[in-house]
Symmetry: C2
Subunit: 355 residues, 2 copies
């Protein structure tokens, strides 16, 4: 004669339960569960009754209970380096869109380039039992990610990934877009090209730089070292690099930048220095962030769609978990394409003030 379920101290109202629904629909909880999960063997009439009960009670299933028993959290981790960099919110947006489509939830971790913070983010994700992690930091940070690898948690990286069973790589086709940019400049008549790279310890930046160099070579141009600058993919970095470039005796007639923030910083410095874009110097960016369209002059840039990137990352992760849907590719290509706006134009005949 023992009361089985005697929780609720009578004062506190119990939260809505699956068995409340079952009771209300006069079926077993198993039937409710099957109905919710669309198991086909449930009688249509009954199912209708169950759905009606769910509706009437305004019942939402408890995800944690579900996750616990099914072993599937329907959670993905998204590691980014800096949420205040406009590139990443656009990426997050894309990721969120796909996630919603597939009933997933996202845990965002912003590392701020801090290894310690990165470690905290990874720990959070493991504790929440994410089913996969998209590492969009454009770096590998191997030792920190070991915890994930050793737990066999699927991962996606951009450009470069540690070799492991369930790790995929998004391979951005830098060469295509950057080549388009260089050809565009060449077509306008530019032969004197400069480049402001990102932080060279990142593989992605090396790739962009060498894509630029090989494309230049293709048109018979060999940019001197003094026109090959290193930025850090921030506005400030772009400004510093351009200031440095302006100290040169001779200037290039066009400058390509490793990302848009760099290009925008460069534009800023050029404006301040009284140089007109594109009349005095042409500028090309990379990424095509939203802002690129609204700077002055609107930036010609190589588009790498954040949406493409996000969707590819998501698909890659999902393919490790539900291999049914997609052949588990380890390499996911991401295209790039030139977007011509108004920061590029014909070069001036005489390169520079004075000489």
């Amino acid at each position: 004669m023992i009361k089985k379920r005697s929780r609720q101290k009578s004062t506190e109202k119990k939260r809505l339960d699956i068995r409340d629904v079952a009771r209300h629909a006069r079926v077993s909880i198993a039937t409710v569960s099957r109905t919710i999960n669309k198991v086909p063997t449930v009688d249509k009439e009954l199912a209708k009754r169950v759905w009606k009960a769910i509706e009437e009670l305004n019942y939402f299933p408890n995800t944690q209970a579900r996750a616990l028993v099914s072993g599937r959290s329907r959670l993905f981790g998204l590691l980014i380096s800096e949420i205040t960099n406009p590139f990443f919110p656009e990426l997050i947006q894309g990721f969120e869109d796909v996630a919603i489509e597939h009933n997933y939830e996202i845990l965002i971790g912003s590392t701020n380039y801090d290894p310690q913070r990165m470690e905290i983010c990874i720990r959070r994700m493991i504790e929440r039992k994410v089913e996969g992690v998209a590492v969009m930091t454009f770096g590998i940070e191997e030792p920190l990610l070991d915890e994930l690898v050793s737990r066999n948690i699927p991962m996606v990286f951009v450009d470069a990934a540690p070799p492991s069973e369930n790790v995929s790589t998004l391979v951005v086709d830098y060469h295509h877009g950057i080549r388009e940019g260089v050809q565009h400049l060449a077509a306008l008549g530019h032969r004197k090209l400069g480049f402001i790279s990102g932080p060279m310890h990142q593989r992605s930046c090396q790739l962009r730089r060498s894509a630029f160099l090989s494309s230049a070579e293709e048109i018979g141009v060999h940019p001197p070292d003094v026109w090959m600058l290193e930025g850090n993919h921030t506005l400030e970095g772009g400004m510093k690099a351009m200031e440095l470039l302006l100290q040169q005796k001779e200037l290039p007639t066009a400058v390509m930048c490793s990302n848009d923030m760099t290009a925008i910083g460069a534009l800023r410095v050029l404006a301040k220095a009284g140089l007109r874009v594109p009349e005095d110097i042409s500028v090309i960016g990379f990424d095509d962030i939203h802002l690129a369209e609204f700077v002055y002059p609107p930036l010609t840039t190589v588009r790498m769609s954040r949406n493409d990137l996000a969707r590819a990352a998501f698909s890659a992760l999902r393919s490790h978990i539900e291999p049914v849907h997609a052949h588990t590719k380890k390499i996911w290509p991401v295209p790039t394409r030139l977007t011509v706006r108004q920061s590029t134009g014909y070069p001036r005949k005489n390169a520079r003030k004075g000489r």
Copy 2:
């Protein structure tokens, strides 16, 4: 003679368990649990042994199991209107920082001003059993949020909130900062002031606008209606509004904007029109987003710290859940303060070209 626990099909490796830790430390699972949760009655030596076992096995407790039994998900929802608006990432950053400090996780929902999307976000949050939701959309959207209210889920709003037991409000002191801005302009000699507001259906925008008007009145200035424009808090909106303003016969000598993106849009249009800032016209923004420092000229703006906002929101939510720590205030003040940069200066004597 029934085998109790016989999961694991021998092939698949079992995930690390609390009882693995218990076994390894030669204690009961209850002790492991108590150790992890820092219950004081655990012997120091034993606790050390348990921690060592946890360390050695590299054990991370399963959050969903914990959440399920404890009834606490340690999850907060963060509803924002548009993640690609630079204001929000900075807010998220602040929120993430506090969340990490307190062992909370964030579920971000970007509504994109779409009621349907908003509904989806709310549903996601309820299903994940968030303990509270910060609604930072600067709007109330009452009917959609009913689902949360009726479940007694704590919420925070900015500026205006539906009346309910566990709903708090962040009250931004628009008046202080905006008054500082107006006084700053007055001190420079400006008497002809314009204002570009945000979307007027938002309470926050009404508040900013009326703060401007009352501050203007305070210095004896009454801006005519044609200088009171409505934007929509985006770059595009700022551009449109400024274009409209430029069609006026007479121009104000200074324009205040309801947020920085609007101001930046306005700057863009002014530059294109050949008007110099601040020589021909002064511009003040609101928010002090990171970008404000890097536009040309660097924007004088009223700072509303995203960090303050985020921390206040977090504290407000937490105070509903753990009323021990803080007296449950329903009103949380958020200060504002003028940041003077270079987009403001002395007015010109003769207001305009031609006449």
